[in-house]
């Protein structure tokens, strides 16, 4: 899984019917140094992530292993909202603080 920050949302009324009812969020890689990386991706949301939150997402066919994305054309899904990231004993991210 990868760390990312929710930086935006995508609304598409004309889309595959198999994507109906699913929230699509724009993610940017979140580095262990707390800085945002380059690049982005659009991921489906299965845990109610909000703008600005640091999340964990998984890709590939694992992304279809949630009730919300089962049998849907999904290759990236947000599957956790991060509370704390600690590397080598230092807290690199603490929800609500950093």
């Amino acid at each position: 899984m990868q760390l990312a920050q929710v930086v935006g949302t995508v609304v598409a009324t004309q889309k595959s019917q198999r994507l109906d009812g699913l929230k699509m969020l724009i993610l940017r890689p979140f580095g262990l140094d707390g800085k945002l990386g380059s690049g982005y991706l659009v991921a489906l949301d299965s845990v109610g992530a909000g703008l600005g939150e640091v999340v964990l997402y998984c890709t590939g066919s694992s992304a279809r292993q949630t009730e919300a994305t089962k049998d849907r054309p999904a290759d990236a899904v947000i599957m956790a909202i991060v509370d704390t990231v600690e590397v080598g004993g230092d807290v690199k991210y603490q929800k609500g603080k950093t």
Partner: protein
Amino acid sequence: MKFAWVIGTLVSTRKAEGLEGVKFLIVQPLDERRLPSGEPYVAVDATRQAGLGELVFVVASREAALSLDESFVPVDAAIVGIVDDVHAPLLPEEE
């Protein structure tokens, strides 16, 4: 499967159904000489015993979820073993 070092931990209380009680660890991927190569990422700890600094091996993609009790979970990387020893005499020294 690939070698990795456990370099950190990640706590998440709001996560996908089925991941209750599953521990997330941050790992640094390694090359065949166990030197860091590539960006760190997050894996579930299917062994439930991997600690900071330990050399582990990780299974990726959808099969990662099969390492957990509940396998219908959105997981694409799982620590499935803690390495005691590597014996690779035929591995060429330097490229």
